[in-house]
């Protein structure tokens, strides 16, 4: 776990493009909030592996979002139930229900529907927000953090040793 955290710090501080980290966060949000063994998560996995998305960030964020999903479960279920039982959408859902591919996707599960709509809705805002935060971090916070006393203490710790070793691997993104 420490290695992954160290990698994230290394990524944040490296030349890795902010979009690579932001995309990792966004895809992790979809994979983490929605039930794991769903058809769409194979597509997410494919995209994560094909696009130059930062894998360490994806893995850690996925774990984080899984925890959030557990906490938000009742809300996501209620939201999905509301969408699936909306009279206006009944015809649409019925047509999907009669398609084998869509049935395979488990779209008619209240939790999957609620979490997928939520994560897709937050995908673009989270992408731009995290992009902006990473840039601000690199421009303003990184130098200040490096000079802070706490970092000086951390540099003497085991974690810093890991961080250094990860940095020495080079080019992992």
């Amino acid at each position: 776990m420490l290695t992954i955290v160290a990698k994230i710090f290394k990524t944040l501080n490296s030349e890795t493009e902010p979009f690579q980290i932001s995309l990792a966060l966004c895809f992790a949000m979809i994979a983490g909030l929605t039930p794991l063994w769903s058809l769409h998560n194979f597509i997410v996995l494919l995209l994560v592996l094909i696009l130059r998305v930062n894998l360490a960030t994806f893995i850690l964020a996925w774990l984080g979002f899984s925890g959030i999903a557990y906490l938000l479960d009742p809300v996501l279920h209620a939201f999905g139930l509301h969408i699936l039982t909306a009279d206006a959408l009944k015809g649409f859902w019925t047509s999907l229900y009669n398609s084998t591919l869509w049935r395979l996707s488990n779209y008619n599960n209240s939790l999957l529907m609620g979490s997928l709509i939520t994560s897709l809705g937050l995908f673009v805002p989270l992408f731009f927000l995290s992009n902006m935060i990473i840039r601000k971090y690199r421009e303003h916070i990184f130098a200040w953090v490096m000079k802070s006393r706490i970092v000086q203490v951390l540099k003497a710790s085991k974690f810093y040793g890991i961080y250094k070793s990860v940095s020495d691997w080079g080019g992992l993104s």
Binding site: P35, L46, I50, L51, D73, L81, T100, N109, L111
Partner: protein
């Protein structure tokens, strides 16, 4: 473009997918086995075990090896064991989360096979205990007795109504006597009439002359009036007393028949009448038929809920809070509706002691409402060992769960029965050594109400009744009558709600036994009746004598009233002038 893409990621993706597929492939057999065991155990309430599950992909299907379903009432035996179950699954429908099986075969199905280890599970233990401890729903009346009960014990235990009536009458007589004595105390008596005599004598000696004569006439008239009034009062008392006494005498007479009522009541209580033999079919066959019905209802209770076990389809279902991380599946209208689980045809080969029985089940599903067809079954076997033919067929119709209608018929021809113990009591040990049975059963359950008719005719029967020379005359007569029986029939009617049904049985054995032992039973009853009557008479003798004495006590009141009336009449008849 390369800034955004890394093509080697595609290889990683393929590797991950292949890994997941391989993991599934190697684990799927175990997953399927565990799923079946877990679901089956939950439904049955006892361990369901599977030796092996083999999922094959081309064509997609599953082979299950040695399925064992533990009997919840006897965890050391399997209610059902199947050697091999094979079925192919419709792949396209599986993608739609529907398990549709066109043909399934079940080979080597056996019942009541022994287990090496107990198949009990904890979660239904208490429930099972309560089910088994429940009384059988038909009450078997007390077995007729072959020994005379001890009269002394009976008389010490039984409350005699005649004795109670005698005591009550005595109290009533005593109360009436006291009441009349009190009333007589205030009535004209000897003293009163002596005073009248004194008044009369005085009048005779009274003053003379016209005025004296007139006064005397007036006083005399008053005296006669007073005497007449008291006499009238006494006559009234005499009349009312005579009426009361007549009532009490009538009650005393009625008491004489009270001991016979006690005798009759006690005879009925101790079943000492040949009517007790009228329920012998219930005694001999009731347990066996009742036990079978109970077992059948237990399994029916397990199976019938599965026929209507559908997923959430209405608003009420989806508003129930699901487990965390599960959500609920919302159903929409399908163009070609199919249940989630359906086996269109299941071929079953069953092995019983008599041989092989083949049959099939059709339309096996957990959602008959969607399928619109009932489950049907038909099993038959011919030229079996000890059975000429066996046929079982029926249907379970739960298309409308609120109007479920299930029916079944069983026909067994020429079933050879050997050493079937019908009664193990000391009074009448009875074993059916040999016999050829024909059995017809029709049963239906509609809206939880059972109506079943079982008819068994037994030919070439050989009944063994223990030692024919031992026991009293009655037992010997029974032995002799049963030994001569070579054919008999038994009819059972089981009706009522599933949790409170009644079993009513009739058999021509009832009549045979009743006729055979009627005379002996009558003699035995008479002997008992005489002894009982004597015992009761002895017990009520004292109180009855006391009551009669009390009754005699009323005679003194009669005499007293008569003597007062005589005195009154004497005074009234005096010649005063």
């Amino acid at each position: 473009m390369t800034k955004w893409l890394r093509w080697q990621g595609l290889i990683a993706f393929v590797a991950v997918v292949v890994f997941v597929f391989l993991a599934w492939y190697f684990l799927v057999n175990t997953i399927v086995r565990h799923s079946i065991e877990k679901a089956g155990t939950r439904v049955v309430g006892a361990r369901v075990e599977l030796a092996k599950a083999d999922v094959h992909l081309f064509p997609l299907g599953i082979t299950l090896m040695r399925l064992q379903v533990t009997n919840p009432d006897n965890p050391m035996s399997n209610a059902l064991e199947a050697g091999q179950i094979d079925f192919a699954i419709d792949s396209l429908n599986l993608l739609r989360r529907k398990i549709i099986i066109n043909t399934m075969t079940m080979e080597g199905v056996r019942f009541n096979t022994p287990r090496k280890t107990s198949g009990a599970v904890n979660f239904h233990k208490d429930q099972r205990r309560s089910e088994t401890s429940k009384d059988t729903p038909f009450a078997i009346p007390g077995m007729f007795s072959f020994q005379l009960p001890d009269i002394h014990e009976i008389l010490a235990r039984e409350k005699l109504e005649s004795l109670e009536q005698i005591t009550n009458l005595r109290e009533e007589i005593e109360t009436a006597k006291a009441d009349w004595e009190k009333r007589l105390a205030g009535a004209p008596d000897k003293n009163t009439f002596e005073q009248y005599q004194a008044r009369a004598k005085k009048l005779q000696k009274g003053s003379k002359g016209i005025s004296g004569t007139l006064t005397k006439a007036s006083d005399l008239k008053n005296l006669q009036k007073d005497i007449s009034k008291d006499l009238k009062r006494l006559k009234n008392i005499q009349k009312k007393f005579a009426r009361d006494k007549k009532n009490l005498t009538k009650k005393l007479d009625q008491l004489k028949s009270a001991p016979q009522h006690d005798v009759d009541r006690i005879l009925n209580t101790y079943n000492l009448s040949s009517d007790g033999l009228g329920n012998v079919s219930q005694l001999l066959f009731g347990d066996k038929i009742g036990g079978t019905v109970k077992k059948a209802i237990f399994w029916y209770g397990k199976i019938s809920p599965l026929l209507t076990k559908v997923g959430p389809r209405d608003k009420k279902d989806v508003t129930e809070k699901p487990d965390r991380g599960k959500g609920v599946y919302i159903r929409f209208k399908e163009e070609s509706p199919l249940p989630d689980l359906l086996a269109r045809q299941v071929g079953v080969s069953t092995i019983i002691m008599a041989g092989n029985i083949k049959g099939e089940l059709r339309q096996v599903t957990t959602d008959q409402a969607t399928l619109g067809l009932p489950l049907e079954f038909n099993f038959s076997g011919v030229k079996l060992q000890g059975v000429q033919s066996l046929n079982v067929k029926g249907s379970l119709d739960h298309i409308d769960p609120n109007k479920a209608k299930d029916q079944m018929t069983i026909a067994v021809q020429q079933y050879r029965v050997n050493d079937l113990k019908l009664s193990a009591t000391d009074n009448l040990p009875l074993t059916l050594k040999n016999g050829l049975a024909n059995l017809n059963l029709t049963a239906s359950i509609g809206e939880e109400i059972l109506d079943a008719h079982i008819q068994v005719t037994m030919d070439a029967a050989e009944l063994e009744t223990g030692n024919k020379t031992s026991g009293n005359q009655l037992q010997q007569a029974l032995h002799a009558a049963l030994a001569d029986v070579s054919t008999f029939s038994v009819n059972a009617r089981v009706t009522g709600p599933l949790d409170n049904y009644k079993v009513k049985m009739t058999s021509d054995l009832d009549k045979i036994l009743k006729n055979a032992v009627g005379r002996q039973m009558k003699a035995l009853t008479n002997e008992f009746q005489d002894t009982l009557r004597a015992g009761i008479a002895d017990k009520i003798k004292g109180p009855m004598a006391d009551t009669s004495d009390s009754m005699s006590g009323l005679d003194s009141i009669t005499q007293e009233i008569s003597s007062r009336l005589d005195l009154g009449n004497d005074v009234s008849g005096l010649k005063l002038f």
